[in-house]
């Protein structure tokens, strides 16, 4: 089989992995070729609108597991291929020097055993780093059940590593991925968290005077991914689980992947089901509220409301449920309260705080500052004046916001650009935020 065929098959097999970010590590060219930019760099956008920044491929799609939801499961009728470590390393270098990519995202099906596959992945990464002198970005997938020693070796070679949670509950994992165990997933995750904490990459404070260790372990941290819509969990369960992962495992980011039916099975939604893209979008919005806006999962969704409103941004939905918190005076409220106003983002909230140190923020300034005024005006006071339509009652307010076209906007895809903007220096920030 030629290289072209292999690449086609192994990219097809990897495309359902949502992560493609390259942010979180700043590194000059310490090898012979490559560097990494903390803001992350997107190189292209595919026809589905998702960014391409890494060469995202599988080492192999030959699999001994039979996970129901997976296109590469043992009983699936797809073409099979495997890369040789040398072959893939060379391909990545040739792509990299043409600036097609920012680095490599290496995942794999389980060929033989987790360790056997991981060994080959490790070999490929080692070739890249040591033989080719590659100093660009590497994201490596950890296969559940890989030995601690191998995980450690991979972590020393990669910038970011991830173990996929796959399904949002133990029960679904048991039903749909019987060969994967919770321990197989959470033990590696715990090991990575502990190693990172140990190296003071996350948590705690760096002691001054202690010389840093030369070797770095996954400097861009760990992420994970779960599939949305293949199993019956509610949005509340999913958001709660994400929150737990951020708190307990210091995960950098939880990715969601709308389930795209791959085959007919009594355990899965029918192949005619549309992928739940809007649900995925709302979950990402909720995820942003957790990570950047100071919300807790219980605030976003409670026992009585286990699903996110498909027509409204979860932040608006929260604000409508809490009329007692509004209106908020733009010129007085602390940053945390500004961040809770619908239509005010992290960037515009900081700009408000910056400007009002020197000059009052007037209503006409808000648009220039980047606030989405048609959304925000119902929830704010500006220099003591209110600009909304006079109602704080949940249902009329909801109708007003829906009519203003602020909730059910066109479905957005997974957008790494947005994530990037959070870490970019001001001069780099583009049309996002």
């Amino acid at each position: 089989m030629n290289r072209l065929e292999k690449l086609r098959i192994l990219a097809e097999g990897a495309k359902y992995d949502a992560s493609c970010s390259t942010s979180g590590v700043e590194r000059k060219n310490v090898g012979r070729m490559g560097n990494a930019s903390c803001a992350g760099i997107c190189h292209s956008w595919s026809a589905d609108g998702r960014c391409i920044s890494l060469l995202k491929v599988l080492m192999t799609n030959r699999c001994v597991y039979d996970c129901e939801y997976c296109v590469n499961r043992r009983t699936s009728d797809v073409e099979r291929a495997s890369f040789e470590p040398e072959e893939l390393a060379e391909l990545a270098m040739e792509f990299y020097r043409r600036n097609y990519i920012e680095g490599l995202f290496l995942s794999a099906a389980v060929e033989g055993s987790p360790d056997r596959t991981s060994e080959r992945m490790c070999r490929c990464l080692s070739l890249l780093r040591n033989e080719h002198g590659f100093a660009g970005y590497i994201h490596a997938k950890i296969i559940p059940g890989t030995s601690t020693e191998l995980i450690h070796r991979i972590g020393l070679l990669a910038d970011r590593i991830s173990v996929n949670v796959e399904l949002p509950s133990q029960k679904s994992l048991g039903t749909l991925a019987p060969q994967k165990t919770p321990a197989g997933i959470f033990l590696p995750m715990r090991q990575i968290t502990d190693t990172l904490a140990d190296r003071r990459k996350i948590g705690g404070t760096v002691e001054t005077g202690v010389s840093r260790k030369k070797e770095t372990f996954a400097p861009a941290g760990q992420t994970t991914q779960m599939i949305i819509g293949a199993s019956p969990e509610t949005d509340r369960q999913i958001v709660k689980l994400s929150e737990g992962l951020y708190d307990r495992y210091r995960i950098k980011r939880v990715y969601f992947s709308a389930y795209i039916p791959v085959h007919q099975s009594p355990l899965l939604p029918s192949p005619l089901t549309e992928p739940p893209l809007m649900r995925e979008h709302r979950l990402y919005q909720a995820d942003w509220l957790l990570r950047f806006y100071g919300f807790t999962a219980d605030e976003i969704l409670d026992e009585g409301n286990p699903y996110l409103d498909p027509y409204l941004d979860p932040k608006i939905a929260w604000a409508i449920r809490h009329p007692e918190r509004f209106p908020v005076e733009i010129n007085k409220a602390p940053l945390e309260e500004l961040l809770r106003i619908p239509g005010v983002g992290t960037l515009s909230a900081r700009r408000i705080v910056r400007q009002r140190r020197y000059a009052a923020v007037h209503y006409d300034d808000l648009k220039k500052i980047g606030v989405v005024v048609k959304r925000a005006r119902h929830f704010i006071l500006c220099c003591g004046r209110y600009y909304g339509d006079g109602t704080q009652e949940p249902e009329p307010l909801r109708q007003l916001l829906l009519q203003a076209g602020t909730g059910a906007k066109s479905q957005s895809p997974i957008n790494d650009e947005l994530q990037i903007s959070m870490f970019q220096p001001l001069a780099m920030r583009g049309n996002t935020g």
Partner: protein
């Protein structure tokens, strides 16, 4: 009140700012090439004066801020015909208010300067990803060697903003970024780079290897898209169509001779 016209260099612009304060107040500042004479004001062609420019340069960094200086420089690189006036008004305000000018996001002058400067730095950032190199046999040095060659047509004159990033990344590989629109090129080797003028000369035909990798990249590009999620409007929003003609993945492979 007078319109100052300069030679289009950043120093030329700074010289005009100097004259505004020490000779005659400026009604506007323009690059001479694009100036449309107005009935309202007289105009004066300004000769760039390095010393005056340096005094303004230092004054901006000391009395306003480094970020104001950087912002003005980015405005200078912008393709907006009004760029020097935007920068000028921002500086006048900056000299009056000091460093806090950068925080007045709601002010129309500040907002316009920040908006325009951001477009420039954003395009530079965007191009760090969208540049596509071809490996060609070059003759930059004495012996024949491979060089990386890329064509681009940015909206703004951002070539020099790409220098440090790529010179570090490809420290051991000589490369050439060719701004076809402005007929100039950034040439780098061993981590150092310079900008030169460059006409649209014949570029050597690409070899079999180069074609092979382009083909591989196109196959990858098509395979990675999830067809159930096809979303061309999003794709175009993130990667505007004007950039497509220099993207390997979205152009045809050259014909075989």
């Amino acid at each position: 009140m007078i319109d100052y016209l300069h030679d289009g260099s950043f120093e030329g612009f700074l010289t005009c700012v100097f004259l505004h304060y020490y000779e005659e107040p400026a009604a506007g500042i323009y690059a001479g090439k694009v100036y449309q004479p107005s009935l309202l004001h007289a105009w004066r062609l300004v000769k760039t004066d390095q010393e005056k420019a340096e005094r303004v340069y230092d004054a901006i960094s000391q009395k306003i801020s480094m970020s104001a200086l950087r912002r003005c420089y980015h405005l200078h690189l912008s393709d907006s015909s009004d760029r020097y006036n935007v920068a000028f008004h921002y500086l006048v305000m900056g000299f009056r208010l000091g460093p806090r000018v950068g925080s007045l996001h709601g002010d129309p002058i500040v907002h316009e300067a920040q908006r325009l400067a951001r477009k420039v730095s954003f395009e530079a950032h965007r191009l760090t990803g969208l540049v596509r190199f071809s490996v060609i046999a070059g003759d930059l040095g004495q012996e024949a060697e491979e060089i990386l060659y890329a064509r681009l047509e940015p909206d703004h004159d951002v070539l020099e903003l790409l220098g440090d990033h790529f010179a570090d990344r490809f420290r051991n590989a000589p490369f050439l970024l060719h701004d076809v629109k402005r007929k100039k090129a950034l040439i780098a080797r061993n981590g150092e780079w310079i900008i030169m003028t460059m006409k649209d000369e014949e570029i050597p035909a690409v070899g079999a290897d180069e074609k092979e990798y382009r083909r591989l990249w196109k196959v990858y590009y098509d395979s990675i898209a999830i067809k159930e999620r096809t979303n061309p409007s999003c794709q175009k929003r993130m990667m505007p169509v004007r950039y497509w003609k220099h993207l390997t993945e979205l152009t045809e492979l050259p014909e075989d001779e």
